[in-house]
């Protein structure tokens, strides 16, 4: 399984904090997972996940979308951070 988490604007747009996705051979990279979520979720999901500046985290580290997924990974999607 993969755990997928959403924060801030994206969480709001999707009305979803977290979901579990079965890990299979076609979900090789973060990018594959993102495309699959958009295809399954429809227009609203596509728009939220493909807005400019989305940040992708894999196991709580920011990564590029070509990072390869392993079973058990935690992937998160969120807008640019505004700490401090």
């Amino acid at each position: 399984m993969l755990t997928v988490r959403f924060f801030s604007l994206i969480r709001e747009a999707l009305d979803c904090e977290q979901l579990e996705v079965a890990h299979h051979s076609e979900l090789r990279t973060v990018d594959d997972l993102k495309r699959s979520l958009a295809n399954t979720g429809g227009e609203q999901w596509r728009e939220a996940l493909y807005q400019p500046n989305v940040v992708h985290a894999l196991n709580q580290r920011v990564v590029n979308t070509d990072h390869v997924l392993q079973n058990g990974d935690e992937v998160a999607f969120f807008p640019p951070m505004t700490g401090g």
């Binding site: 924060f7 801030s8 500046n53 709580q60 807008p79 640019p80 951070m81 700490g83 401090g84």
Partner: protein
Amino acid sequence: MSVLIQGAPFIVEQQQAILLAETSGAGLVTFTGYLRDFSEQGAVEALELEHYPGMTERVLEELGDTSANRFGLRGWRIVHRYGRIAAQDPIVWVGVLADHRNEAFAGCQFIMDTLKTKAPFWKREFMSDGRVVWVQSKAEDTEREKSWQECAYE
């Protein structure tokens, strides 16, 4: 050498005392960020800070360690709130101890500049006129953070 992320308000003096109990140095630089009662959007009543539990702690611990190595700090402490925060309340406190004042200034400023764009927090402002607005990241903050990568302020 430690990170505290909490929903409840914190008291700056107590946090400073914790750092000073852990270690000592010739120079202590602290930064306290308070919630402004105004923003680009107008008068602000409160802020809600969302964060990514686990990742926040990890990012800030790495950030403190990086600053300590880069600037030769003797000690550091980062405190950050999440949840709903009232105007004028402290949001973030960073304290660093070093043998020389310039290392302490640089170490503290490096942590603050990096934290702004690298720690997984997201701010939502509750405006006095009733609007609720997600705070946009600032190009200026991204530039500041990058400047630490490019120029060697050491």
